[in-house]
Structures are given as structure tokens and as C-alpha cells.
């Protein structure tokens, strides 16, 4: 904590896991948020309970936040020579690449690269997944990702289909509030 003096010394929280969800078989996994959990298995169940309230999820990934290497395009531009001298040592492995393409969007799974270090993975990703609109880049080792299984769909996700009360569209108050918000006095 010495490098972050603004944090309280004793952090009793569990580790944080970043959650990615997939809304349909053909869509990429997208950043959904984060959960605290004591371990990977509970991270996955917590992710389900917190982020799969509505029936638009077919798969979940969770990954410990400290396994994610993140850089903004702005950071990279400020230090154009950041990659100089980086030697991508270590055992090559698969890394997942995520990009955020606009400020209102979220991080979306863009592909995979092979590399030995986080920096090496990002250097490769900048070319392999090149996108001039990318404003944030994340890379994380594939083996750090804990995934729901296809067999989990029925018990983890399908259930939500019978719970229409969780859908805000079920409540007329939402429509009423929108009308008020939009200045519609009818």
C-alpha cells in the first residue's frame, strides 16, 4: 500500500474480479463490471447474481483485476517510445485483448494474441487488433480467465426468463417517469 498512501492500510475486502458477459452466441464478451469474491468459483456465482438479472446472457468470464494489463490510447501517445527496449521474454501463451472504442461504450473482446509478457501482448495487440478508434486497451492471460460452461446456461442464465418482475419494462412507472422526463404532460 506504500505506493498508494490514500488507501486505508487494512483493506478487508476480498479480491476484485472483473466480469465480462456475452449477450448472445454471436456477440463478443463485454465488460459488465466487477465483483468481490474469495476465489474463482464464487467470483463466477457472484457475477451471475449481480449481473445476470435479465435473460440476455449466455456466457460469463471473470478474471482477477490484477491479472489485467491496461493502457489508454492517451497514455500510449504521451510516451511514444514506451515499447522501446521491451523484451517479450517468458513462455509464450495466449492473451485476450479487449478494446473500448468510444467514451460511451464499454470494453469489448477484440481477439487473441500470443505473447510472453503483458507488455509484449499489448505490443502485438496494437498491430493484430489495430483499430484507430480504440481509446482503452486491456490484455489478460487466457489462463487467468474463469469461464462459465455451456452446461451452466440452463441453471445460471435461463432461469431469469421466468422472472419478468426484474425487467424494468414490466413497471408502468418507468414509462411514466420517461414521459415526465421528456416534458410530456399527457
Amino acid at each position: 500500500m506504500a505506493d498508494k498512501p490514500w488507501l486505508p492500510v487494512t483493506d478487508t475486502q476480498w479480491p476484485q474480479y472483473i466480469v465480462f458477459h456475452q449477450e448472445g452466441a454471436d456477440s463478443p464478451h463485454e465488460y459488465a463490471g466487477a465483483v468481490h469474491a474469495p476465489d474463482a468459483e464464487l467470483a463466477l456465482t457472484n457475477a451471475r447474481d449481480v449481473f445476470v438479472r435479465r435473460p440476455d446472457c449466455v456466457s460469463l468470464w471473470v478474471v482477477r483485476e490484477d491479472r489485467i494489463f491496461a493502457r489508454t490510447a492517451e497514455e500510449l501517445a504521451l510516451d511514444p517510445r514506451w515499447a522501446d527496449g521491451i523484451h517479450d521474454a517468458g513462455q509464450p501463451a495466449t492473451w485476450l485483448v479487449f478494446q473500448k472504442l468510444n467514451h460511451r461504450g464499454t470494453l469489448v473482446h477484440a481477439g487473441e494474441v500470443e505473447a510472453g509478457t503483458p507488455e509484449g501482448a499489448l505490443i502485438t495487440a496494437l498491430t493484430a487488433c489495430a483499430n484507430p478508434s480504440a481509446i482503452v486497451w486491456w490484455v489478460t492471460p487466457d489462463r487467468a480467465v474463469i469461464r462459465s460452461e455451456p452446461g451452466d446456461i440452463a441453471e445460471m442464465f435461463e432461469i431469469a426468463k421466468s422472472k419478468r418482475f426484474r425487467d424494468q419494462g414490466e413497471y408502468h412507472i418507468v414509462t411514466a417517469m420517461r414521459k415526465i422526463g421528456g416534458g410530456d404532460k399527457s
Partner: protein, 257 residues
Amino acid sequence: MTLDDRVKSALAEKLLAMGDDELILGHRDSEWCGHAPILEEDIAFANIALDEQGHAAIWYGLHAEVIGEEKETYPDKLAFMRPAGEFRNAPVMELPKGDWAFSMLRQYLFDVAEHTLMDSLVKSSYQPLADAAAKVQREEFYHLRHTQAWVRRLGLGTAESNHRMQAALAALWAYFIATFEPLATDDTLVEAGMIPPAHDWQAAWEARVLPMLNEINLKPPSPVESITPSRTRHTEHLAALLAEMQSVARLQPDARW
């Protein structure tokens, strides 16, 4: 399906007891809302509480059909307008929520009981019951996954977590064994192939629960003491629970929601 009067009243009794177990346990679980040890678990446990209350609505709905009451409105009357003496839940469901170990272990023991009961009820000769059981069973898969993961960690966690779990098990065990006590009219339903014999259900439950408890270093008390409270003779905790749970509905019994 036409049912003779004897079967009809036995079935109504059974469905009421099943619904009351779910409603009262669901309410106790809901008391953790805003108080669970961590935010994520607060949401997860509240989800489970809501699911159990949803199951109560299913069993109450079937009960209403069997006795010829309105399926949509009668469940609310059952939940909010009955006094404690008319509830048929097992007393273990009404015990105060205790500490986290107590509530989590109770929910786990109940999930296994419900899961094993549904295993039989999906084959019930009374089709509406079999259909409802299939629906409930889908949710119980996930409950079990969740509570089993927690119970395992608490049992194998620290000296304190194991100690608390052991204390919870000591307090819960005799009460849980008593939940399998058949209702006076259950025989009629067993003969009709509508529900499993109570001892088969209990044996299926023990076959799953005992190895798990052993694996996580928890020991059920032995011999099992018998308890005085029953489904028709509640502890003092039920009336207090109902006073709170029913208070809003009773302020305006004819309110429309």
C-alpha cells in the same frame, strides 16, 4: 383429474405445508437484505429468498386450485391473513436468522431437502404437482451450487468459521430431522403415488448431506434429541415473524396492487 375428497384434503394439507416452509424460510433469509457480510452476497442471498417466496406462491396456487379457491388472489390471503396457529411450516424455518453460519447452513440443508423432494415429485401421479416440481427443481440446482460452495468454505475455513458452523449444526440438526415427520394424512398421497414416503425422502437427504458434512469436518449431534415444536405447534418466533411480515397487508386488506 378428479380427486376424491380424502385425497383432495390430504393434497391440500401437503401443499400448504410445502408453501409455508418456503414462505417462512424465504422471509427469514430476506432479513439479511442489507446486512449480509458483503454486497455481492447480499444480492445473491436476497435472490434466493425471493426464489423461495416464488416457490411458496407456486405451492399456494396449487393448494388454491385443489380447494377450489381463486389461484391469483388466494395465495396472498394465505400469506398475510392467517394467524400463526394456522401455519404448517416446520419450526426450523421460523427460527431467528442467527449468524451467517446458521442461515447459510439452514438454507443448504433446506436446498438438499427440496432438491431431493423434487427428484421424486417430478414423477408424481398428480400432473400439476409434477409440472410445478420440474420448474422449482431448475432453480434449486443453482441454490445448491451457491449454498454448497459457501458451506464448504465455512466448514473448512478458519477455526472460528468451523466452530460457528458446528454450533449451527448442533442447533439445527434435531429441527431438520423433524421436518421429515409426515403429516397425518400423507399416507393417502403416498398410496396414490403423488408423493414419496417420508423415510425415502429423508434417506435421500441424509445420503447427500452426511458425506458433505463429513468432508467439511462437521459432525451432527448424536443421538438426535426429539423436539417439542411441530408443524402444528410453533415456537414463539413465528408469531413475531408474522406480525412484521403481515403488518403492511393488514393495514389495508382490500388494497389493490
